[in-house]
Subunit: 212 residues, 2 copies
DNA sequence: TCTCCTCTTGACTGAGTGATCAAGAATAAT
DNA sequence: ATTATTCTTGATCACTCAGTCAAGAGGAGA
């Protein structure tokens, strides 16, 4: 008995089931309407639950939001963490950009949730921005700087390059309404996503390739 | 008497004064908290007005929002409209990117208002996206395509290039909280904005320059 | 089966919010 | 100065919404 458990341990089968059910529904709603624009009733409805039942699992609306937001942060960090200084820079950046684009296409809701949080001043994740994200960016900027110093890519400001990669890739998730209005909804098909990938890779990387 | 006037003509001195006062305050509030996150009281307070007084000038909260949003759209279109097919492409794109960056630094609130609207599905401006914006983008994409065909810049997908320019430049307004967290607030000073401008121009344009 | 604990829900509360209105204050016109 | 119009505001309404509560339904272990 008395097993050590994390503070937020979920004890029962039903708790596990409903927690993930709620987080999924909440991601849907929050990413569509923002925090204030979403109602607990709305989330509950999406989960086929009553509001008091949902509030039995998460005491406050904000608790749901934080839980969903934190789940997306790790997803968000992972691709950059994978950037490896040992591999060939162009290959490595291609992989990174490609992975970010995949995320934008496959999890646009997560991207929009994150974007909305930043857009409104990141009130829930300033610690994240100034802490783990900043550390990670500094480390990876150093990697890129090293590539420049060794002449493996053309000189570039590493942090602004990271910003450019983030903004361009996330644009296809966050601004998808605009993108699809201007591309006649072409983004939905696989082949057009490949065209987008190639275009983005060309735009971001061609200037970095050193003359042969 | 009976002078012909636009439907929304403002008759009196006080009307003109308060209309712009309200629109400025509303831009502040809406861009910070989003549509649903903002209250009429909040906007009224920012204008040193009472709520009923504000609602004397704009009957509904949504009327204020639409007015502010529409004011930003023209501001948003102008730089792209100025893209000239006759000039040198790199010069012209440099000017365009530079102008967009200036807007991001000088009017981040407008940028965020626009971003928020798109992020949540652009419910108020689908006509704009599928209409005038789309026309303009098609026209300017043709210009860029012409430059490619004539060998003045390296081949590139024109629409995706426009997306890249938009996303990278607006990133410095929309995600300024994140940018400043990662740059230690460096963005505020003039010299660091110049560094940003140079970095962005290099990243976006170096790949387009043809080998001499 | 009996019992304890978990889960579910209808009804409710209180705070907040968009909008209205009538009455009074300020301004402009003659 | 008188009058008509525009402007301002306290009070209030109808409604939405996060969160509560008590009572009951369901599940798990003995």
């Amino acid at each position: 008995m008395n097993k050590a458990k994390p503070a937020d341990a979920l004890k029962t089968r039903i708790q596990n089931l409903n927690h993930t059910l709620i987080m999924d529904g909440a991601l849907d709603v929050f990413s569509s309407y923002g925090y204030r624009g979403s109602t607990v009733d709305q989330i509950a409805l999406r989960c086929n639950m009553t509001k008091p039942n949902l509030l039995y699992y998460f005491k406050h609306k904000e608790d749901i939001y934080r839980a969903v937001l934190e789940r997306t942060l790790s997803q968000w960090l992972a691709p950059l963490e994978a950037l490896d200084s040992e591999s060939e820079p162009i290959e490595e950046l291609t992989r990174y950009i490609s992975r970010k684009l995949d995320l934008a296409f496959e999890s646009p809701k997560s991207s929009r949730l994150f974007a909305n949080e930043i857009l409104h001043g990141a009130p829930h994740i300033t610690d994240f921005l100034k802490g783990s994200l900043r550390q990670l960016v500094e480390a990876k900027a150093a990697v890129i700087q090293q590539w420049c110093n060794r002449g493996k890519i053309n000189p570039v400001d590493p942090v602004h390059l990271i910003f450019a990669i983030w903004s361009v890739t996330q644009h296809y998730a966050d601004f998808s309404v605009q993108v699809e209005a201007l591309l006649s909804g072409k983004l939905a098909t696989h082949s057009n996503r490949e065209a987008t990938r190639n275009a983005v890779l060309e735009i971001l990387l061609r200037g970095l390739k050193t003359a042969p």
